[in-house]
């Protein structure tokens, strides 16, 4: 067994010694991340053979990936469902109600004019609305996950992904100010 396999045989929660859950203790994650990187980072092998450096690079990349996955809530939720055997693919959403909501929100955002004198207030209001939806959506995901209804949980995560993308667009708009 090679060292990648040793890591592959464990999931990220196991590698980072965290219980498999949608909420994690961020301080524990950070501490464990530093501990692991101190062991495998290529800097520890700068004078080693090229094989050793290559292995170190692969392991370190794996730890970095695990850290990112567990640290970012949306990625963590998706990962949890992947562990339950679900596969995320690009697809069209069949929930027409949600589609209408998406279109409405996009329209609202596009109507915010950066040259408007009240642009700050408008963005704040939009953000508040969006954050409420994200909180609500996160709650829906968590309850579905807890009842082990993973297919519903999957759909909730897909919706959450949309909200997160919208949030990035709002940030981009803020950058223009």
């Amino acid at each position: 067994m090679n060292s990648q396999d040793i890591l592959h045989s464990k999931n990220y929660f196991e590698i980072f010694e965290l219980s498999e859950s949608f909420d994690i203790e961020i301080n524990e994650l950070n501490a464990r991340f530093r501990f692991l990187q101190k062991a495998v980072h290529p800097d520890q092998h700068a004078m080693g053979t090229s094989k050793e450096q290559l292995l170190a690079q692969q392991l370190s990349a794996k730890i970095n990936d695990g850290y990112q996955t567990l640290k970012t809530p949306l990625l963590r939720y998706r990962y949890l469902l992947t562990l339950k055997g679900l596969e995320f693919k690009e697809h069209t959403h069949k929930d027409t109600g949600f589609l209408m909501l998406q279109m409405q929100l996009r329209e609202d955002l596009s109507e915010i004019d950066v040259n408007d004198s009240k642009v700050d207030d408008k963005i704040d209001a939009f953000n508040e609305q969006l954050n409420n939806m994200i909180n609500h959506q996160t709650g829906s995901f968590k309850s579905a996950y807890l009842t082990q209804d993973y297919n519903s949980a999957y759909n909730e995560v897909v919706k959450l992904t949309f909200f997160e993308k919208l949030k990035q667009d709002v940030e981009r708009l803020e950058d223009q100010l």
Partner: protein
């Protein structure tokens, strides 16, 4: 001439003996080299006790190459053969640097003539020179200075690069080191190096912003220091903004005062720049400075007041503040959370810069380590650690990739594969498919930048994946993998997996140099001027072989008994000794063969050591307990 140094067979260095490593700040305006001496980093001076080496290289008609102060003094006399700010050309194409006062290959009167691909080349009396070769000249001078000061050859160097340096620029820097005959332990970000210098001296834990305004580059980074680990939370900057621009702003002011409207000759322009630079530096301490100059188009003499100067550079300084704002936002922090602000680079001596940065953070800024030296000092510390002179438990550097890397998809859109500020090393894969029935090839276009359209991003490389077996559209599964190593250097591979037929290709950036070119430059380089081609190669192979012997001997001593059975242990030792026997007797081919054999034979051992390490950490032990 470190590489040609003779050592007796069997006298390979003891793995536990002190190694010699230095930190090099390869700057746009000035470069420095520093070394650890009795636990303190010290910048090394030249015979005249000057620590900084102007990053200026002059090529003379008689084949001589002058580097540093002497070259800088002659800049006005011989502007086309005296290359300054060469760092701006590293890994850059003609259209990026067309405004620089040199004659580039493929350009006439500062205008590109037709399409010129690849990294620029500058025409000099000694023929065309790549920025990589020019940088290698600077590195060689610093390495020589270090070796003379230490009294031994260098085992490795850490070279700093701006955090914003892209792919091609990092590659170019590593190639320059290779041509100078140096072993690069790691490229590290300049701001990170500065934080190492500060962090270790004062034992800080906390959030630090590093504002680095050098001669030609600007970076700002937010670092998290915690538990002996430096983590770059976010970074941003501009590879074409620095103190040189302050000089240019003053030159524009001069031109207005003297009613100069026509294009200046290169030497006149240089004359004005030199005066501008003097005025700028004097205004770091004075309230007004007397300036004077004369050109064929007009002359001027008069006072420049600090307020006037501040007005000239205000837009430039504000530009840097906007970048800080963005980087703070990227880091997910509020500016009030930043505990310390480290000022780096000679241009932070400018009063307005300190004031504006301090105003922004509403805190005093740190300037207690010489802003010109701090980067080299931090790099020296890191170099000492990487060669194993101090325990690596003390410090671990985690870095991020500064720009998003993506791939071109249908309609000229960019799909991001690695988001900016992702911690490196990183490996990310994305799957693609064919869109036509029977499609057998696919074009992979690698781009860098934050925008959605390919046309708004920087093109890094293009390659074609061929030999995809004919299938219906959408059936092929092409996995494109982006790997970034700890130096921030990208490798991209593409693999068609469904059919079991696999094609794979590794790319180098468009503005990089291919391996043959680097080897050619290595052979042309003065380091080997009096040796023939074979002995040059032999010398390079020997150095590499020595490194392999050292690495494996050290590993055998540490873990050999524990991880190998008796037979394997003896076998590997024998292979090491076989290489030792030929290293100073055999020809290049023999040494290479034995070295390749040793590398191969030790792969399994390397794998086991890594396994042991991984197993240990997964069960919560420190690697040192194995």
């Amino acid at each position: 001439m470190a590489l040609l140094q003779i050592a007796e067979p069997g006298q390979s260095a003891d793995p536990h003996q002190h190694k010699h490593a230095v930190g090099i700040d390869l700057g746009t305006t000035n470069s420095l080299v520093a070394v650890m001496r009795s636990a303190t980093a010290t910048a090394l001076p030249d015979e005249q006790n000057r620590v900084s080496l102007p990053s200026v290289v002059r090529y003379l008609e008689n084949g001589e190459v002058v580097v540093g102060y002497d070259a800088k003094q002659q800049a006005q006399l011989d502007p086309l053969n005296t290359l300054v700010s060469i760092k701006r050309c590293m890994g850059r194409g003609l259209k990026d640097v067309i405004d620089m006062p040199y004659e580039f290959e493929g350009s006439i009167d500062g205008k590109a003539e037709g399409i010129v691909e690849g990294m620029v080349k500058i025409k000099t009396v000694q023929g065309s020179k790549s920025p990589v070769e020019v940088s290698a000249q600077i590195l060689k001078v610093l390495a020589k200075r270090a070796e003379e000061s230490i009294g031994a050859k260098l085992d490795g160097v850490v070279i700093t690069v701006p955090a914003y340096f892209d792919e091609a620029q990092r590659h170019a820097t590593k190639d320059a080191a290779r041509i100078a005959g140096l072993h690069v332990l790691r490229l590290i970000h300049e701001p990170t190096a500065a934080a190492i210098a500060y962090g270790l001296q004062s034992q800080h834990t906390g959030l630090i912003a590093v504002y680095d305004l050098g001669g030609g580059t600007f970076d700002v980074s937010i670092l998290n220091l915690n538990d002996g680990v430096f983590e770059v939370l976010a970074t941003g900057g501009d590879t074409a903004l620095g103190g040189d621009d302050f000089d240019l702003a003053i030159v524009e002011f001069f031109k207005k005062k003297a009613n100069i409207s026509e294009k200046l000759t290169p030497s006149e322009r240089r004359h004005l720049l030199t005066e501008a630079c003097r005025v700028k530096e004097a205004l770091g301490t004075e309230k007004k400075v007397l300036a004077h100059f004369s050109t064929t188009q007009g002359s001027w003499q008069g006072h420049i007041y600090l307020e006037e100067f501040n007005e000239l550079i205000l837009t430039l300084v504000q530009k840097t503040i906007r970048t800080i704002k963005r980087v703070v936002k990227d880091s997910g922090l509020q500016k009030s959370q930043i505990d310390q602000i480290v000022m780096v680079g000679g241009s932070t001596r400018t009063k307005l810069v300190r004031q504006k940065v301090s105003d922004f953070f509403e805190k005093d800024v740190l300037t207690n380590i010489d802003p010109d030296q701090v980067v080299a000092l931090g790099a020296a510390k890191q170099a000492d650690l990487l060669v194993g002179n101090i325990s690596s438990d003390e410090l671990l550097l985690l870095d991020v990739c500064p720009l998003s890397l993506g791939i071109e998809t249908m309609g000229g859109l960019v799909e991001k594969v690695v988001e900016r500020n992702t911690t490196i090393p990183v490996a990310r894969a994305q799957e693609f498919t064919t869109f036509k029935d029977g499609q057998t090839a696919m074009s992979v276009h690698i781009v860098q930048g934050e925008r959605d359209m390919v046309s708004d991003c920087r093109s890094l490389a293009k390659f074609e994946l061929r030999g995809i077996p004919p299938m219906v559209a959408g059936a092929a599964k092409i996995k494109v993998t982006y790997q970034i190593d700890a130096d921030g250097i990208l490798t991209v591979s593409a693999l068609e997996s469904t059919s079991g037929v696999s094609s794979e290709i590794t790319v180098k950036p468009s503005f990089g140099l291919d391996d043959d070119t680097v080897i050619q430059m290595l052979q042309d380089s003065q380091l080997f001027a009096d040796a023939d081609k074979d002995s040059r190669q032999l010398a390079e192979t020997r150095v590499e072989a020595e490194r392999v012997i050292e690495a494996i001997s050290a590993a055998l001593k540490k873990d050999g008994k524990a991880l190998l059975n008796e037979e394997e242990f003896t076998q590997l030792n024998t292979t090491v000794n076989e290489l030792k026997q030929v290293i100073y007797q055999g020809d290049e081919k023999t040494v290479r063969l034995k070295m390749d054999k040793l590398n191969q034979d030790s792969d399994e051992f390397a794998q086991r050591r890594m396994n042991a390490g991984v197993k240990a950490v997964l069960t919560g032990k420190s690697v040192n307990d194995i």
